[in-house]
């Protein structure tokens, strides 16, 4: 077999450190003028793919790492970041600003790209920190009828195209073994993503981004869910501070917590 062809889907989201605000019309979260970054879990996916290449974990090597995003024109920025981290080229399925594609739509776009690019391994984040759905990787695995390993904290390769993945599950970890082609979703503990160095950022500018539309891929991404409203959660009032441990015990008793 030849080297692995890895697809890494990434998403541009509001930076994790920013506290999101709901817009006045209560239709969405305010995104204009807010700092955006690559979804943190997607950085782990890129890092893991690059490490598979660098560490030669897969006996036949890595042929190509392709970063993918479905999003507005500005998403090209995170594709550049991915390429500065080590992806070879990118695919950008462009949408208008504010047009949000649901996980099922993204999974269908990915399904088309997987076939077109003869991908063997797709490494996705376990969830995007904006929608918090945690669906895309599993949906793609279902559409392709490929094995899946979600919430990976360790990925290892064996002979005969085998991948062993340690998954984070409720109460601990679970290890499963699958065969390439396969879908993996990454969890926080998988690795520590590198920073892109300046020379690599410069090099990434020369790497290619293929722009296309959903219709180029023959995919219908019509939404199935309609957002009726978005509101702020009810604010929680801090109850103030107590002086000492006795005060804390008294207050907890008063509140019926102990």
């Amino acid at each position: 077999m030849s080297g692995l062809r890895i697809l890494v889907p990434i998403k541009r989201v509001i930076d994790y450190a920013v506290k999101p605000r709901v817009n006045k019309a209560q239709t969405a979260v305010e995104t204009a003028g807010v700092k955006h970054s690559m979804n943190p879990f997607d950085e782990l996916s890129i890092e893991e793919s690059v490490r598979i290449r660098e560490k030669k974990s897969f006996p036949h090597g890595v042929a190509e790492i392709i970063a993918f995003t479905a999003g507005p024109p500005k998403s090209a920025d995170i594709l550049r970041t991915a390429m500065a981290m080590g992806a070879d080229r990118s695919i950008h399925v462009e949408f208008k600003d504010g047009e949000e594609i649901e996980p099922l739509g993204v999974a269908k776009l990915l399904q088309a790209v997987v076939k077109k690019e003869k991908i063997d391994l797709v490494v996705l984040g376990k969830q995007s920190i904006d929608d918090d759905s945690s669906q895309t990787g599993q949906m793609l695995a279902g559409l392709l009828n490929w094995p899946q390993a979600t919430q990976a904290s360790n990925v290892g390769f064996g002979g005969d195209k085998k991948i062993t993945v340690e998954k984070e599950v409720d109460g601990g970890t679970e290890t499963v073994r699958g065969t390439i082609p396969m879908i993996i979703t990454t969890d926080l503990r998988l690795n520590e993503p590198r920073y892109a160095s300046l020379p690599n950022i410069m090099k990434a500018k020369k790497k290619k981004i293929d722009k296309m539309s959903a219709s180029d891929l023959g995919v219908d991404v019509a939404r199935r869910l309609k957002t009726l409203k978005v509101i702020e959660p009810p604010p929680r009032q801090g109850g103030g501070k107590v002086e000492d441990v006795d005060g804390m015990i008294a207050k907890l008793k008063e509140l019926g917590a102990i």
Partner: protein
């Protein structure tokens, strides 16, 4: 054909009954054309029904309509009988086959899809647990529907409420799909009672799909303490604990004094003070206990996402400006290495 006709006759009969039952009249108008019929996917492990998944039955009760429970695994009869006692379930579909013991989505998803199609269910519900998260999107894709994840409330049969952006916004969404595939937040729907039901049990269809992955092993942290996700009290430690030894020395006795489960912030988990499975937050467990008592946790938004629906929040932190104090009902500024042992000692008296 015959069972199918039987089914639709039953359904229209049921909807007739419903439309005459007074207060639910308006709500049942929309149900008139296609009555609700929910399938709650029940989780089992080593022949035991997992209580954490029974919130899906409660959610199904809120939807109205009939409720069927689904369970699969080896020697399933005993678990099916246990599930049949859960209040609110009319029927249990059980599939007895050891291939489903580990809940691997590669064969479990096709199994569910076949049983969903045969039963004509309109709503498929499961807990937003590791099992539900791994399985349900695969089921949704096979049915070509958009799943609704981690719901916290049900407005009507097609309208659901779910937190987004780490709980910093609450979205109300309406589904246009014929079949609604839903995962529910356990802390928002109490587990259904495990007594008082008397569901019938029937064998499901076994699709015998091949499983492309094999289960190798698991490493579960063993503990006599209550389960984090469902505990009434949670004691949680953060970076301020400084080491695993200190975490264990300071936090475990406090948890024992309160009969509480142990939790941790991401910083504490990343530094190796506590096990990954104890992480509370957007990317860890979501908890909503009666009491959440934390020490050495600053209160980053990703952490608050996992605990801010707790009934009472208490915090001990030496930084008086830590964001945790903005949400804490009881805050104590001080060194946790002094305050926590003192608290433990006084609680033990």
């Amino acid at each position: 054909m015959i069972p199918r006709i039987g089914n639709s006759v039953l359904r229209s009969a049921r909807s007739q009954l419903k439309s005459h039952s007074g207060p639910t009249y308006v709500a049942s108008l929309s149900a008139f054309s296609r009555l609700l019929s929910s399938l709650a996917v029940l989780e089992q492990k080593d022949g035991k029904l997992l209580q954490g998944a029974l919130g899906s039955v409660t959610a199904a009760q809120k939807l109205g309509g009939s409720i069927t429970g689904f369970i699969a695994g080896s020697n399933i009869k005993a678990v099916a009988e246990e599930a049949a006692k859960v209040k609110g379930i009319e029927k249990i579909i059980a599939v007895d086959n050891a291939s489903y013991d580990k809940g691997l989505p590669e064969n479990y998803a096709p199994l569910l899809v076949e049983n969903i199609k045969k039963g004509g269910f309109t709503h498929i519900l499961a807990g937003h647990s590791a099992f539900g998260k791994s399985l349900m999107p695969r089921v949704a894709a096979l049915l070509d529907v958009q799943q609704i994840s981690d719901i916290t409330a049900i407005e009507d049969e097609k309208t659901f409420v779910r937190p987004i952006y780490a709980g910093n916004a609450i979205a109300t969404v309406e589904s246009s799909d014929d079949i609604k595939v839903i995962t529910i937040r356990g802390t928002a729907f109490a587990a259904a009672e495990t007594e008082g039901g008397s569901a019938s049990i029937e064998d499901g269809v076994d699709s015998n799909a091949e499983c492309a992955t094999e289960w190798v092993s698991e490493q579960l942290s063993k503990s006599d303490r209550p389960d984090l996700a469902t505990a009434g009290k949670v004691v949680s430690g953060g970076r301020g604990l400084k080491s695993k030894e200190e975490f264990d020395r300071v936090m475990l006795p406090l948890a024992d004094a309160l009969g509480a489960a142990i939790g941790a912030s991401r910083a504490a988990v990343d530094s190796g003070y506590a096990d990954n499975s104890l992480q509370v937050g957007q990317t860890g467990k979501i908890v909503a206990p009666q009491l959440y008592l934390c020490a050495g946790i600053s209160g980053a938004i990703q952490h608050l996402a996992g605990m801010k629906d707790s009934k009472v929040i208490a915090a001990i932190n030496k930084d008086a400006d830590a964001p945790i104090f903005q949400v804490a009902d009881v805050g104590l500024v001080g060194d946790l290495f002094d305050k926590v042992p003192e608290l433990t000692e006084k609680l033990n008296k």
